[in-house]
Symmetry: C2
Subunit: 240 residues, 2 copies
Amino acid sequence: MIRHLPRRDSLSERIYLELRGKVQRSEVAADFRFVDVDIANEYGTSRMPAREALLRLANEGYLVGTTRGFMVPRLSLDDIRDVFEVRRLLEPRAAANAARHIDHATEQELTRALQEASLAARRNDAGRMILANIAFRQAWLAKVRNRRLADTIGRFVDHAQTVRLRTLQTESTRTVVLNGLAALHAAFLRRDPIAVNDRMVAFMAAAEDAFFSTRETELADKPPSVARSATRYDHNEGLS
Amino acid sequence: MIRHLPRRDSLSERIYLELRGKVQRSEVAADFRFVDVDIANEYGTSRMPAREALLRLANEGYLVGTTRGFMVPRLSLDDIRDVFEVRRLLEPRAAANAARHIDHATEQELTRALQEASLAARRNDAGRMILANIAFRQAWLAKVRNRRLADTIGRFVDHAQTVRLRTLQTESTRTVVLNGLAALHAAFLRRDPIAVNDRMVAFMAAAEDAFFSTRETELADKPPSVARSATRYDHNEGLS
DNA sequence: TAGCTGTTTTCTGTATACGGTTTAACGGGC
DNA sequence: GCCCGTTAAACCGTATACAGAAAACAGCTA
């Protein structure tokens, strides 16, 4: 038996999964500090499993180690741009591949997630929207045969997820996301890789635009902060 | 001060880098088993730093944990296909982005790596070819501003590297790689993102073809092994 | 000789302990 | 009242020890 990771049911594994879930669902305050000894006490173990879990989360980008505990990373706008760039490159193709392998069960999951998102949008419930979003993505990601590709996407999405909680507070963003999910859903049900690919491209572009425009208005409300560096121009510029 | 990983100069970090280098340069036998206590003795530390380094390597895919020590993963053809798929998606764009930021020093590194590759090809020195290959890629990868993108590529390349040692034994493959590097080199020196993008696309396709065709002949020489499953058809098929 | 079974070895996962370093709090001087 | 040096606490990295599981091995049986 070969395993890529520590024993699937070890203590550190359990703690890792638990903590990762919290971070994924944005259930930790931005300034909360994870400290191994505290976590160890909480789970009734020694420091080591907690420490290993934290180290792994930090290694995967879910947390950053400070000299005083581990915290969820505070992503800059450039960081978000970077994450979006990678997602733009990977997700359309991955979704297209998945479109060929959608079975009935996945179909149902996708539909349920879409309905849930619709409900959340109507009720202006950002938290619920995120959960529906996660469920939708996980449904089709599970059907991507290339596990390396799927896992990479999962990680990148998770990293940006933290930020999206804020942006999904905006109604216009929720509408954009909901429309994108609906279009994707239809394409998935038709098992049409090309349509899925194209709609994912459109979805990512729309999500990115929505994010940065809401951020713009957010920043506009505040007193003009220190001039943001304008040295990053790799993105959104194509190859021209 | 924020750090994404354990203290940059900790024992586990040192061991991690050392071992990763060995794996990257294919300096470990395919059946070699890394055992924490042995490594600890070798480096004059206790088990813990060695263990952490191994765990991290396993987490990043450089090693796989077995119930009896850690080993370099034995990649199946499907695994290789998966790696190539992700690389096809990421590397052209990343290289194009890097093309805009090539400075004089990088130019020299690229040139030196290309010359080294050329020399290795003439001398039929596969090991040297790999090293030149690594140097070339690291030179332009360092100029990719999106660190997430660059790191992801680095990891995926490393995973496939193990296998390439074998394929670079073939002269035709060496020629393909050398030609690809030369074309890329020229495009980089011109700072032409579009040309770099296109040549990287071509390079990846050529490398992939060369790999699988040499593997085909390899397999043809052997007695027909157990029928390989033909269920994987996501790749090399585009979206049609 | 092949297969089964009990024992030993090997390796992992976890617990606990210690030392060093950074941070934050506190108190004295300006 | 504010700044700066000192001190105490927090936290990390590492070392050592132990228990349990899996593989290897040897001996036994057929």
